[in-house]
């Protein structure tokens, strides 16, 4: 009897593991930045003179989108960034490992939803932000604290269910 009950015990352990696992979300890759101030950085603007710095992101709730002209998924999410801009959000761009000419051409062609775009040609600032695949989208509150990170393209559902409610909530916070 005890020998024959061993498979049952193993199965119970396995079930317990799966049961706890069900409560976790494997897609949620925790960003160490969440709840922390943005990394400090200073980048030349992609268009025009001046600098895009971490202080540009303070004073209002802002969205930071990491993109590049060579990234075809960025192209597919572009219209949702325009939706965010049209909704009155402060959308900023981090142009990641890109050629300035091609990036400018991309914005001329698809339209520019960004208030400011910093040019991160060598990807150093991207590393500070923990970027590992474009596109990525961050939401930063008015005190410059990172509150949300999404890896991969945003779509209407993410805009409606995650981004807009969070922005509203953050704007309601003093």
């Amino acid at each position: 009897m005890p020998m024959r009950a061993i498979p049952l015990l193993v199965a119970l352990l396995l079930l317990a593991l799966l049961w706890i696992g069900l409560g976790l979300n494997p897609r949620e890759l925790p960003s160490p930045l969440i709840g922390k101030p943005t990394p400090s950085f200073s980048l030349p603007l992609l268009q025009g003179e001046g600098q895009f710095t971490d202080s540009s992101l303070q004073g209002q709730v802002s969205v930071l989108n990491v993109w590049a002209s060579w990234c075809s998924t960025c192209r597919s999410e572009h219209r949702h960034l325009k939706t965010l801009q049209a909704a009155g959000l402060a959308v900023y761009g981090l142009n990641y490992r890109d050629e300035p000419d091609e990036a400018q051409h991309y914005l001329r062609q698809l339209g520019n939803p960004y208030r400011m775009v910093g040019w991160d040609g060598d990807g150093r600032v991207g590393i500070e932000w923990g970027v590992y695949a474009t596109p990525e989208t961050f939401i930063i509150d008015r005190h410059g604290i990172v509150r949300f990170k999404h890896i991969g393209p945003i779509n209407q559902q993410i805009v409606d269910e995650r981004i807009l409610p969070l922005v509203q909530q953050l704007e309601a916070e003093s």
């Binding site: 009897m1 024959r4 009950a5 498979p7 049952l8 199965a11 119970l12 396995l14 079930l15 593991l17 799966l18 049961w19 706890i20 696992g21 069900l22 976790l24 979300n25 494997p26 897609r27 890759l29 925790p30 002209s69 060579w70 075809s72 998924t73 597919s76 050629e99 091609e102 051409h105 991309y106 062609q109």
Partner: protein, 641 residues
């Protein structure tokens, strides 16, 4: 209206299935023949209702009924007819219904071909299959109803996932489910035997055709999925050790162990309790697979849309399956003898090692698949386990298995003389070693692991050929079961040779190319002629034209595409292949390098022996299907009819 009829048919089918799971079982326990005899008719009725529901769902797809949520999510006005039909199983809800329908079809097959079984065992088995059906249909109805309405109906649907708009995807799920649910039959036979508390001497023979058929379908289903991934994902890989692939590989491994252990139980009456256990584990692994794929507990490239209530439901099913059957096993496993004893060198001992190796292989896959989850549960880390782990642990388990595969079928039951074995294999071993060592040189390369693998592949192929030839020469008959086994083993040999070749000698080049440029890969010239725009029914594509020449002779024009589907805006890579007996040439378009120039990232792959890989899988499945045609299984039926 029709849609409500489909929904109603599902509800009614569930009621009948609940009756199927109770009346015959009570009848068997109380010894009432009339109750037991109801199993057959109930099975036919529930099958008819499920088939009706399925046809209604197909009709909703064909007629563009976007008031059905599932149709609106997985179809569109522009979707071609063949993909509208296959879209019915292209999403979670419909694929569950297909699963339930397939299970029902298998129940009908048991009702039809199992009439020679003793009535109580027959009734109990169909009763257990009713429990399984009830669980899966309940899951479908309560958490994943494909007939849910969407009102007001949208004007157009959001289209089938472009990756699934492919002929390979039309057949992959049905074949896979044929395999999965087939193991529900052996499970039901095992549980019926446990409930009765005794294993009939013929139990293993009853199980064998069912187990082998399921195994053959599962083999085909997995191979077709791999074949699809190979050209459709555009990476040229054929196996990624993705959790969803592992979910189908695990029952395949234990299922392979099961069909081998069944042969010992059938022929010698040995390993019987172990065989029973394997039947339970194999079925439980198919449910575990459903859980991994459909609960969202593990990230995977092709996990279905997830919903926590679904995860809890399947986990409950898995828990009932495992706890119920293993508790029953602990409590009731009949005391049967170990069967006749056997010597260390005998067919039994080889099959024992076969079983141990296959089960260990399955355990390593399970470990690699669940390890990230376990660490996450313990809060230790978020990580994923990739191909390096699996290749490292899987290879050393498989190599001895291949060695034994060449010897096992030659050995006698009980005891085999070592000297006699040596006389019949020494020349084979010699030829295999020479062939295997020279084989890689034909590709202009060398390596110990690949040479060893090829020696083993040659060894298996030779042993199959020598047994067939010597039997024919001695005028012995070659029963279908033995021929089937040989074909399946030959398939393994061919498959293994292909794996060794493609892993060692494939050439993968990622290049920047613009129209007008040429490149040479593995002795083939690829000339990028032109890039043009092609409009498909529901997509727009950039199509590259590549002329392939070899030694100055034009081989073919390859037309890889980069498609953007209208509805999902999802970019899709459609690779172009030139398949040959000894190699595939594979071209796929990556990304355009920039908007102004017409330079693209182009992937050009040279893949040796890929045709052998698919041929190997086909041989395995074909071997299984031939084996079940053996007279031994039929004579039994005729004798008892």
């Amino acid at each position: 209206m029709l849609v409500e009829l489909g929904h109603f048919a599902l509800v009614l089918a569930l009621v009948l299935i609940l009756l199927q799971g109770s009346l015959p079982v009570i009848g068997a326990l109380r010894g009432r023949d009339s109750w037991m005899a109801m199993a057959g008719p109930l099975v036919w009725l529930q099958f008819a209702l499920l088939l009706l529901a399925w046809l209604v769902l197909e009709w909703a797809f064909v007629s563009h009924d976007f008031s059905v949520l599932y149709v609106a999510m997985h179809s569109s006005l522009d979707l071609p007819l063949q993909y509208r039909i296959s879209a019915a199983w292209g999403g979670h809800e419909g694929s569950m219904l297909l699963w339930v329908l397939t299970l029902s079809a298998w129940s009908v097959a048991v009702a039809r071909f199992g009439r020679h079984l003793p009535l109580p065992f027959f009734a109990l088995s169909l009763g257990v299959m009713g429990w399984v059906s009830a669980g899966l249909l309940g899951f479908t109805l309560f958490t994943s109803n494909p007939f849910e309405r969407l009102l007001p109906a949208p004007l157009d649907g959001s289209d089938l996932n472009p990756l699934l708009q492919d002929p390979g995807m039309i057949f992959h799920p049905p074949l896979l489910y044929m395999g999965y649910v087939g193991f529900a039959v052996t499970f039901a036979f095992a549980i019926a035997a446990l409930i009765q508390g005794r294993l009939a001497p013929e139990w293993a023979r009853w199980c064998r055709p069912w187990a082998v058929t399921s195994w053959a379908f599962l083999t085909l289903g997995i191979a077709l999925g791999s074949w699809w991934a190979y050209y459709e994902l555009g990476w040229g890989g054929w196996w990624f050790w993705d959790p969803v692939e592992n979910a189908s590989l695990m029952p395949w491994l234990t299922g392979t162990a099961l069909i081998h252990s069944l042969s010992v139980s059938d022929k010698r009456g040995g390993f019987r309790i172990w065989t029973l256990m394997l039947a339970i584990i194999t079925f439980a692994l198919t449910i575990l697979g459903a859980f991994l794929v459909r609960s969202g507990v593990i990230t995977s490239v092709h996990a279905f849309a997830t919903d926590p209530s679904r995860g809890s439901f399947i986990l409950a099913l898995l828990a009932i399956t495992l706890i119920g059957s293993l508790a029953l096993y602990a409590w009731r496993a009949p005391k049967v003898g170990l069967g006749p004893s056997f010597a260390p060198l005998s067919r039994e001992s080889m099959l024992l090692v076969n079983n141990v190796l296959l089960v260990v292989a399955c355990a390593t896959v399970l470990l690699g698949t669940l390890y990230p989850l376990a660490l996450d549960v313990l809060g230790m880390a978020k990580l994923s386990v990739g191909p390096p782990y699996f290749e490292l642990v899987f290879t050393p388990i498989m190599l001895p298995l291949l060695l034994l595969m060449g010897i096992g079928p030659m050995l006698r039951w009980g005891k085999h003389e070592g000297a006699m074995l040596w006389r019949s294999v020494w020349w084979m071993a010699l030829v295999a070693v020479v062939l295997g060592l020279l084989w890689p040189l034909s590709m202009g390369g060398w390596g110990w692991l690949r040479a060893l693998t090829l020696v083993l592949a040659a060894w298996i192929i030779l042993s199959v050929a020598s047994d067939i030839i010597s039997r024919l020469r001695r005028g012995l008959s070659l029963p279908a079961a033995r021929l089937g086994m040989h074909l399946a083993h030959l398939g393994v040999g061919v498959f293994v040779a292909a794996v060794a070749m493609v892993m060692s000698f494939e050439i993968e080049q990622d290049l920047r190319m613009a129209p007008g440029q040429s490149v040479e890969v593995a002795g083939y010239q690829f000339h990028f002629n032109a890039l043009r725009r092609v409009d498909g029914p529901n997509y727009i594509a950039q199509q590259g034209s590549f002329m392939v020449t070899h030694n100055g002779r034009t081989l073919t024009e390859l037309l890889p595409e980069k498609r953007i589907y209208d509805q999902s805006e999802m970019p899709m890579t459609q690779a172009a292949l030139h398949r040959g007996l000894m190699r595939d040439l594979y071209v796929s378009l990556g990304e355009p390098l920039s908007l102004d120039s017409d330079e693209w990232i182009v992937r050009i792959y040279y893949k040796p022996y890929m045709t052998w890989m698919w041929a190997g899988c086909l041989l395995m499945a074909l071997g299984g299907l031939i084996a079940i045609a053996d007279r031994r299984y039929r004579r039994r039926r005729e004798a008892l009819a």
